[in-house]
Symmetry: C2
Subunit: 242 residues, 2 copies
Amino acid sequence: MPATASSARSERPEAAPKKGGIRRAKEAQILRAAERVFARTGFAGARMADIAAAARLPKPNLHYYFRSKRALYRAVLANILELWLAETDIIAADADPAAALGHYVRAKMRFSRFYPDASRVFANEIIHGAPEIGGFLRQELKALVERKSAAISAWVAERRMAPLDPRHLFFAIWAMTQTYADFATQIEAVLGVPALGEDEFAAATEEVVRLVLRGCGLDGAPKSRVSAARPSRRRPPVGSSG
Amino acid sequence: MPATASSARSERPEAAPKKGGIRRAKEAQILRAAERVFARTGFAGARMADIAAAARLPKPNLHYYFRSKRALYRAVLANILELWLAETDIIAADADPAAALGHYVRAKMRFSRFYPDASRVFANEIIHGAPEIGGFLRQELKALVERKSAAISAWVAERRMAPLDPRHLFFAIWAMTQTYADFATQIEAVLGVPALGEDEFAAATEEVVRLVLRGCGLDGAPKSRVSAARPSRRRPPVGSSG
DNA sequence: CAATTTTCTGACCGTTTGGTCAAGTTCTCC
DNA sequence: GGAGAACTTGACCAAACGGTCAGAAAATTG
């Protein structure tokens, strides 16, 4: 897949893939601003003028790089889907169920911590019926879940973990981890803190990991506590899969 | 708390609590339609004309009963919060942790099944920073979680369940159960079904219950499998509480 | 250093949308 | 049954918003 976000999900060539020098930088700048605004107010609530202001550019400049509001929104989504898949792919052919699931949950929690706006845009899109990424969900995501589920089912068959439907396990893990981004406002309110900082996320991560592992019948101390380094945005650690 | 939804969260008297005969019925009719439309497109995306159409009323009629779009939105939210709290209150002073948590999860899953639009409006509001119900989250909800958490902490202290932070357990349960309403589109796509029916919800409920109970160190067969009767909307089973 | 392409931007426009209004119609209650 | 309140609605705004355009500035190129 070409890295240029403006190519969205291909479809039409959309302004030919000219690799203008300035273009790439400005598009990224606009996409960042757009992600923030879309996350805060949703697609309909976001105003092009606000995005322009957030990107510190005059409004017509946005339309120079992105045909329309919807095109910009789709570009933002395309950007996010890449990230989402990359993080999800971490659950590789790890030999040990506990380690694999632990890594996966931790990766998801890092995602919620470092890309909360991306998570919120994604959540918003799905809540409203996924009008733009329905195809992605039914194709790529479904296929990915089926691949990963096969591995987990194997572990279940080998009595290496409690019997469960892997697909619902995925739903549960996605929900539990993404809630720390999407519902951060609620969590902050209940915890009585102004914002979820490193401490809160560390605590939350441990709780979720324990809950998931125990829930899967996988006790024992979690192995590697990888330092919570910020994953590089443009070159995510795309592990194998299959 | 007065049942009239239009009283919202009080604040201003808002059109005096006149109990017009027709008023009550029409307001309910409008609120139902508004909930559906707000759930599908969010606050900003919803158009008064669409709500009017959904309610089968001319647009000015909406403004006769609700001052403004925002007032209508708040009324819808107030409606939802009542429901939300009621369902949450089910986790009473149940003697048995497994039974209590099991009941709670099942109640939440019923909520997702029967009031998906309510759940989506709520989710939307929170994702966008809870501009209207921030106070509710910091007051009522926080207090409720603290009360319930005390009970769970007691169980933990008595070694009746695995050690964990009850607040994060709540976040996890909310996330896992609400995802079947808010993210139904995604789940349907991954499962490859056109809609989540009774079968899917039954299966999902069992998976989530097992995951939670096992995750809390509470194994053993789930006790009562209460028939999944639709809870009455206006008179929810308000149990006592702490 | 032209010539030409790419990038930038102030001013402008057509539509959409929340909200209003005044003139009805129906209900309520004595 | 009639006076007054409650309710209904077609016609109408003003503001907001996505999008356009023509011309100016930079970049790029030969």
